[in-house]
């Protein structure tokens, strides 16, 4: 019997499991657990989608799918940044506010041209991300508190720009920005294509670059990572910056899609993003996670939302009950899988 450093409570479960399923060696069993952890959400997504397709005529229609894809795109971009943050063992609560701020800034800036409209939210939200990262990395404050403060601050800033929400800035029709948000390419909205491109880039960065390795290393064991030469502080600053920039971009694209900077958006979006990331198989404690999983997590949340809307008799408020219950199930399953894998 090997004694692991983590001293996970070794229980009888381990032994009986191995005896009951003889052909399953430790390596295979572990790979199976890993597979479920990584792709469990995808399997559920496929099942839910299939059931919905057969249950509701209006589910698998081109319009509905296209709508779901577009409305998923903005949350997905936010969740992409959140994935990086959570893999380092952190959390970013400011993204919902930054999403709203980004939208308002883009709409406000659209009067000065598309370039301003796009750069302004990226720069401002990125700057908030830099401050988040600096505080987390250098002052060693808890990410929860730092980004909570940023969440309040960013929403305040957004309200100040809009005179307490009284001013709604519009984005002119026909501008490049409006085209970016509302136009379609090959039948799918432009935001969907942008999101897909960002996820491909994100996956490459996370899996195939040194920065990506550092993200995993910092979340896996910060002290060891520092001793092994990973630039811990720089990595943390970068992930919070990335999260801020992506939240700003998502807000700007959303504003372009809606043709206005809507101030009431983004409330609770940070929690939705965190849910999606966790459902997608990323460990909330850091060190393990997948960009693709977060995309699946977002889609799953949106499909559930859509299905509940399809059931006309069910109040749409129940969608949150279902999402919440689902999240709870996923977290329990993840913990269980995690323990199982640790034992082996």
């Amino acid at each position: 019997m090997t004694v692991t450093k983590t001293q996970a409570p070794v229980n009888a479960d381990d032994g009986t499991q191995a005896a009951g399923a003889e052909p399953v060696g430790p390596a295979r069993s572990e790979r199976l657990s890993a597979l479920v952890q990584q792709h469990g959400a995808l399997a559920v997504l496929v099942i839910v989608s299939l059931v919905a397709t057969f249950s509701f005529d209006s589910f698998a229609t081109g319009d509905n799918v296209s709508n779901m894809a577009t409305s998923s795109a903005f949350l997905a971009i936010v969740a992409l940044g959140m994935t990086f943050v959570i893999i380092t063992g952190g959390i970013d609560l400011s993204v919902g506010s930054l999403f709203a701020l980004g939208g308002v800034l883009a709409a406000w800036g659209s009067r000065h041209g598309t370039l301003v409209a796009l750069l302004l939210p990226l720069v401002v939200c990125g700057a908030v991300g830099v401050v988040n990262g600096l505080l987390v990395a250098r002052s060693r404050l808890a990410p929860f508190i730092v980004t909570l403060a940023a969440m309040l601050g960013a929403r305040g800033l957004m309200l100040a720009i809009t005179d307490e929400g009284a001013n709604t800035y519009l984005i002119g029709k026909g501008s490049f920005l409006a085209e970016l948000g509302q136009g379609t390419t090959l039948g799918l909205g432009n935001p969907v294509w942008i999101t897909l491109a960002l996820f491909v880039a994100g996956a490459v960065v996370l899996r195939r670059t040194r920065f990506g390795q550092h993200v995993y290393a910092v979340g896996g064991n910060e002290d060891a990572a520092a001793l092994m030469g990973a630039p811990v502080a720089r990595t943390k600053i970068l992930v919070y910056t990335l999260s801020g920039v992506l939240a700003g971009l998502a807000g700007a694209l959303n504003a372009a899609w809606l043709a206005s900077g809507v101030t009431i958006l983004g409330n609770g979006m940070e929690l939705e993003a965190i849910s999606a990331v966790v459902i997608g198989g990323t460990l909330l404690t850091g060190g393990l996670g997948y960009v693709s999983g977060s995309l699946v997590g977002v889609l799953l949340l949106k499909v559930i939302q859509n299905v509940i809307n399809q059931i006309g008799s069910l109040d749409s408020s129940y969608q949150q009950v279902v999402s919440g219950a689902f999240l709870a199930v996923v977290v329990v399953a993840q913990t269980w899988l995690g323990r199982r894998r640790q034992l082996l």
């Binding site: 450093k5 040194r210 390795q213 995993y216 064991n221 092994m228």
Partner: protein
């Protein structure tokens, strides 16, 4: 033959922490291809020295000359980049990352697009690890490996980063014998490649197996250095513990009176064959009522582990504990407490007192469930118990309401003692009860131990203070590498005998059957 090049020269290194002179004017010289043992008891300054060498601490005074140049490392990373790698007791890698990625973190091979070249990484990782006797799928997460293999990965990583000096801090503490052999062959290979190794361990067998030279630290000073072969085991132990050979004190320095004797021939505590993987190998101890049994041995010999295993704080893989004729279910502290076994832990700050709570609350903490009826606590009964013990143990506090964190170390220790005495135990396990407390309080605690034994309690006493151990105990059971190597009774309980037994060349009649660990 020309002497090998000097890799490291440390001169007059000193470091003071508030209230403690951790390292005082220490010299250390390392040559290429030298395996150097660094030894000393707890608090001797070994870890301080290592931390100064590796940039964790900055020295107050002294020079470190590394490969001919004076150096001053700001971080462990700088030291590592310069060529001083450290392998810690606990494997310091990232368990969730794959073996290969752990090995290459920070220096991953990249292809011409700047992306990581996994194929090359995996191939090279497998090749490298084969040299360390590790044959695994390097794509699997590190944590799926055994501790020994993980340690080898850490070692491979340290050496691969062009280390000139590899410091190993108790590298074998979690290794199986077979893995220790592999480690030794790796160390010998490092030596042949001209790398200097600093080897920290309490296991004498290992030191003599691989080390060429030795530095002994005691109380922050270097008390000996030279070739290890010139120093026999007994001299090594006596140098380490600071006791002259054959030195016999005519009068004791402790307050033990020895005014207690076993009142009953049947043991109140009988622990048999306690085994904890990597830590204890079949340790047996028995204590009769009214008897103080000392547990002797060097740091890491399994003294604390034995106490913890008896009290259920450390899960055992085999062995049994019988208290007053009733077997104890292993691995459960509450069960042990109910049966009447109380442990006064070694580290009272982290494992004992609650500094923010009052003296009264700290004393009554464990006994509260017994004083409550229907979940309500009788304040009067708590007061009466608390006052009894404050008086009996002479705890100096302004009032029972004073916070324990404000008391002196000795009084904190007495509060802990009171907590367990309030439980009316049959057996008291005392792990370093007088460490870190002043002389006066020490004498009082020692006197208390005597009184408690005189009252019929069975006491297990663990102490690094030889005098305390010898004068306080009726019998001393000596541990080495997690096994009993001898037992001293009656007139045999002397410093000389104790040190000989610890060093492992005790006369045969002292040795109990468990000396089978050598080898």
């Amino acid at each position: 033959m020309a002497p090998p090049a000097e890799v490291l020269a440390v001169r007059g290194l000193s470091k003071t922490f508030p209230g403690v002179r951790a390292l005082d004017d220490v010299d250390l010289t390392l040559h290429a291809g030298e395996v150097h043992a660094l030894i000393g008891e707890n608090g001797a300054g070994k870890s301080t020295l290592i931390k100064l060498l590796t940039g964790v601490y900055r020295p107050d005074a002294g020079d470190i000359v590394f490969q001919g140049r004076p150096v001053s490392f700001a971080t462990p990373l700088e030291a590592q980049k310069a060529g001083i790698s450290t392998i810690y007791q606990e494997v310091n890698l990232i368990p969730l990352l794959s073996v290969a990625r752990n090995l290459f973190l920070g220096r991953e091979p990249r292809n011409r697009f700047g992306l990581l070249d996994f194929a090359r990484m995996h191939r090279e990782a497998e090749e490298t690890l084969r040299g360390y006797g590790v044959r695994v799928d390097v794509r699997r997460p590190l944590r799926s490996l055994g501790v020994g293999a993980q340690q080898m990965v850490a070692l491979a990583r340290a050496v691969a980063s062009e280390a000139r000096i590899v410091i190993m801090d108790e590298p074998t503490s979690s290794l199986e014998p077979r893995e220790v052999e592999t480690l030794f062959s790796v160390i010998r290979r490092l030596r042949d490649e001209g790398i200097a190794v600093v080897y920290v361990s309490h296991r004498l067998d290992e030191l003599y197996a691989v080390c060429d030279t030795v530095t002994v630290l005691r109380d922050g000073r270097r008390v000996h250095h030279g070739r290890l072969a010139d120093l026999d085991r007994l001299s090594l132990v006596s140098t380490m513990l600071g006791r002259e050979l054959g030195e016999v004190r005519s009068e004791g320095l402790t307050k033990f009176t020895g005014d207690h004797h076993a009142t009953d021939s049947r043991p109140v505590l009988q622990a048999t064959d306690l085994t904890v993987p990597h830590q204890l190998h079949g340790v047996s101890v028995s204590i009769r009522p009214g008897e103080v049994v000392g547990l002797g041995g060097l740091l890491g010999s399994g003294r604390t582990e034995t106490a913890k295993a008896i009290s259920g704080a450390l899960p055992t893989s085999s062995g049994r504990v019988v208290v007053a004729g009733t077997p104890l279910r292993g691995g459960s502290t509450p069960a042990a407490i109910r049966a009447g076994v109380s442990l006064l832990p070694e580290d009272r700050k982290s494992e004992g007192i609650v500094p923010g709570l009052s003296v009264r609350e700290n004393i009554s903490l464990a006994v509260l469930p017994r004083l409550s009826r229907f979940g309500l606590v009788s304040e009067a009964r708590v007061d009466s118990i608390v006052n009894t013990f404050i008086e009996r143990l002479r705890i100096k506090a302004s009032s029972p309401q004073q916070k324990v964190g404000e008391l002196s170390g000795g009084n904190q220790q007495k509060v802990l003692l009171a907590r367990w005495l309030a439980m009316n135990p049959k057996v008291l396990l005392l792990d370093e009860p007088t460490r870190g407390i002043d002389v006066g309080a020490k004498a009082e605690v020692q006197k208390l131990v005597d009184e408690l034994a005189a009252d019929g309690l069975g006491v297990l006493l663990i102490s690094s203070d030889l005098e305390e151990l010898i004068e306080g105990s009726d019998r001393v059971v000596v541990l080495k590498d997690g096994a009993v190597v001898g037992e001293l009774t009656g007139d045999e309980v002397t410093e000389d005998k104790l040190m000989r037994t610890i060093a492992g060349d005790a006369p045969a009649r002292d040795a109990v059957e468990g000396a089978a660990t050598d080898g």
